[in-house]
Every structure is written in structure tokens, then in C-alpha cells.
Symmetry: C2
Subunit: 204 residues, 2 copies
């Protein structure tokens, strides 16, 4: 019997490089035992998007019904559309022995951890506040006010790091990717995640 | 201010390859932040052994005094000599920010974990009982009775794995060494081991 998969909750404020770490990790390792959670949304699909791959596309009625049925880990409204993380899809993957990565904003992440204490929560930190600021400015796509706004939000979120299981300081990207890998691989060695494996060794 | 170091308790039955993993890990990584705990013993030093490096050599009176003073994590008699793991040396290293590895037999390891719950305990398993038996026989230095004896002791110890934080199945040595490294590196990313580091990021 396969042991259950592990749920990794990957979070951190805007500008800390969560997305970059994950896509770089995927390019480098292509780990077949890792799946990404697919969110549900009421937003209309873009031409290239596929239902069940990029998102589960739902009508507002369907989405509201899912909220009522307690089908979400967490959900939020963003620019007039609803977004949520369905529990069932995540649990099905975990039951089948796959590890699941949930990339999620800082408060949603703590909610998931509260609801599913076995989740492994990881918080991405910038090397310093000044570096965070220059990264947010470096995007060059936003007004100074908007940068200042995002910076203040991020600064308020950083102390949440204390409530997570692990922190990764994203200074050099390759190092951060390796650190993420250490966390994943070490979790796979946790006794709690290997109860069946141990039994099998003792039988052979 | 540096965060405190991490205590790794490395254990497993005879024949699982603890010593080989550790020496191979050292050769490959030469991690300057890792120190090995030095045991105290009443055994006479061998010609090449240096006090404070290989062992702390003690008279029986000194050793008994250390027991009375509660200076040991754990101690045991073996072939008429006393062996013990002094707490102070370990705690001094941890306080200075060094990580410490304690290679220790399976019950002593659980005692250390009870006394110092922050310790990270790692149990080495063979890939199977039959492989364990052939490894014990492969040493070629022991009588069939002695092999059988060691095998039975090891078999009794294997279920203790459940009480450890991590397990490593020592099938391919290089993989086992990497797994040990994942555990060490991931522990260095634990939020609890980075309280001061987080504070420093928030100040910069």
C-alpha cells in the first residue's frame, strides 16, 4: 500500500519570487510525483485555457453552491471574479500518493494549514526589505504609488513567516530552488509519511 | 545573533550502515557547520587516539562522578568499560550555532530525544530483512551463531523506527547519503531554527 501524498503550501508576499522558484524547480526536476492544485474560478476561460488543467471553470451559481457545500479550502474575490481551492481534487491526489503543491497568498496558506495540519507550509522571504522594494520597482509595470502600496502590504505580511513550518530566503534563485527541493525530499523521509513503507521493509 | 545549532541523532541497528553513511557524507560534503559529539570513556586510549578528539578519556572515578552530576545524555557499559555522551560539550556546540551529529545505538537515541525534544532523530533501515542478514554475514568476521544473534537483535530494534522523526532506507549508499543531506539542509530551513535570521531580514 502506498503512503498518502504530502501537501505543500507555498506562500510569501508579492515580489518574493514564489512563481519563479516553482517554475524553475519544475524545469530543473520534472518530479512526476508532484502535482499542482487546480483552482476553480468564475472568470471566463482565455482562448488557450483548458477546463481542469488551468482552472475548473464554474458559473457563479456553481461556485456559490461549492461554497455552501464546504468544497473549498479557501476562496476569495479578485477583480469581480471568484477564485477558490477545491478540497476534493487535492485530497484525491494525496490519497493516490501524489504530493500536491498549493501556491497561495499568505493568509489563505495559514487557513489551509489550520484545516489540514499535516500540510507543510513554506514561506518565501526576500533577502532584505530594500531588496524587496527594488524588485517591486524593477517590474517597471506599475506607478510609484502602486509600488509603494504593494511594498507596504508585503512588509505587513512578512512577520507571518513565523507561523510557517519552513522559510526560504530567496536571494540567489538557484539556491532557493535547491532549498525547496530539500524540503520536499526530506518530507518524503518523515516517519509519518512512511508508515506503510516501514511495514513493507519488516515483511521482506 | 546566530540561531542555535541543531542536534541530529543518527541511529539504526547493527548492519544498516550508519557509520558508512556518515563517513561517506563527510568525504563528499565536508560541512564546516557540522560537529560530531565526542564520547567519554573509561577505556584506555589506543596509541593513535587523542584525548578530546577521539574520546574524552576518564578514570572510573571521574566517570562515576559525571554520572552523579547528571553530565550525560546517556551512558552504558560495554566490554567492561563505560561509555557516555556528555551533555555540556554538545550544548556548548549548539549554543555557538554549530549543528551536532550524535551517532548512537537505538535506545540511547530515543533517550536523547526525550531529554532534548528539539533533537532531530533519524533511523537507518535496511532495504529488507534478507538484505540485512546477508550484510551481517558478508562481514565474514563472525561465527554463524554471532551473525544470527546480531540479526535477531537488529530485527527486534527495527520496529523502533516508528518513534523517530525520519527514516532512511539504506539501499544504494549514495542515495542514502543524499537523503541524510536533505534532512540536514531542510532542518536548517525550519522556521524555529531561524527566528533570529527572520528578525534580521525584517530590519534590513
Amino acid at each position: 500500500m502506498t503512503d498518502k501524498g504530502i501537501l505543500f503550501v507555498f506562500s510569501g508576499p508579492s515580489g518574493t519570487g514564489k512563481g519563479t522558484i516553482l517554475s524553475s524547480f519544475n524545469q530543473k526536476y520534472d518530479d512526476k510525483n508532484i502535482k499542482y492544485s487546480v483552482s476553480a474560478t468564475t472568470r471566463a476561460p482565455r482562448p488557450t485555457e483548458i477546463d481542469g488543467i488551468n482552472y475548473f471553470f464554474k458559473t457563479e451559481d456553481e461556485f456559490n453552491q461549492m461554497i455552501k457545500n464546504d468544497e473549498f479550502f479557501e476562496w476569495a474575490e479578485f477583480c469581480g471574479n471568484l477564485y477558490g481551492t477545491p478540497k476534493k481534487a487535492v485530497f484525491d491526489l494525496l490519497e493516490s500518493g501524489k504530493d500536491v503543491i498549493l501556491e497561495i497568498e499568505t493568509k489563505g496558506a495559514l487557513n489551509v494549514k489550520r484545516m489540514y495540519p499535516d500540510a507543510v507550509s513554506i514561506f518565501i522571504l526576500p533577502p532584505s526589505l530594500s531588496e524587496l522594494k527594488s524588485r517591486l520597482m524593477g517590474r517597471g509595470t506599475e506607478t510609484p504609488e502602486s509600488v509603494q502600496n504593494r511594498f507596504e502590504t508585503a512588509s505587513r505580511e512578512l512577520p507571518l513567516a513565523e507561523n510557517y513550518d519552513y522559510i526560504i530566503i530567496n536571494d540567489v534563485l538557484d539556491d532557493a530552488v535547491e532549498k525547496f527541493r530539500y524540503i520536499i525530499e526530506s518530507q518524503r523521509l518523515k516517519t509519518n509519511n512512511n508508515k506503510n513503507t516501514i511495514l513493507e521493509v519488516l515483511k521482506k
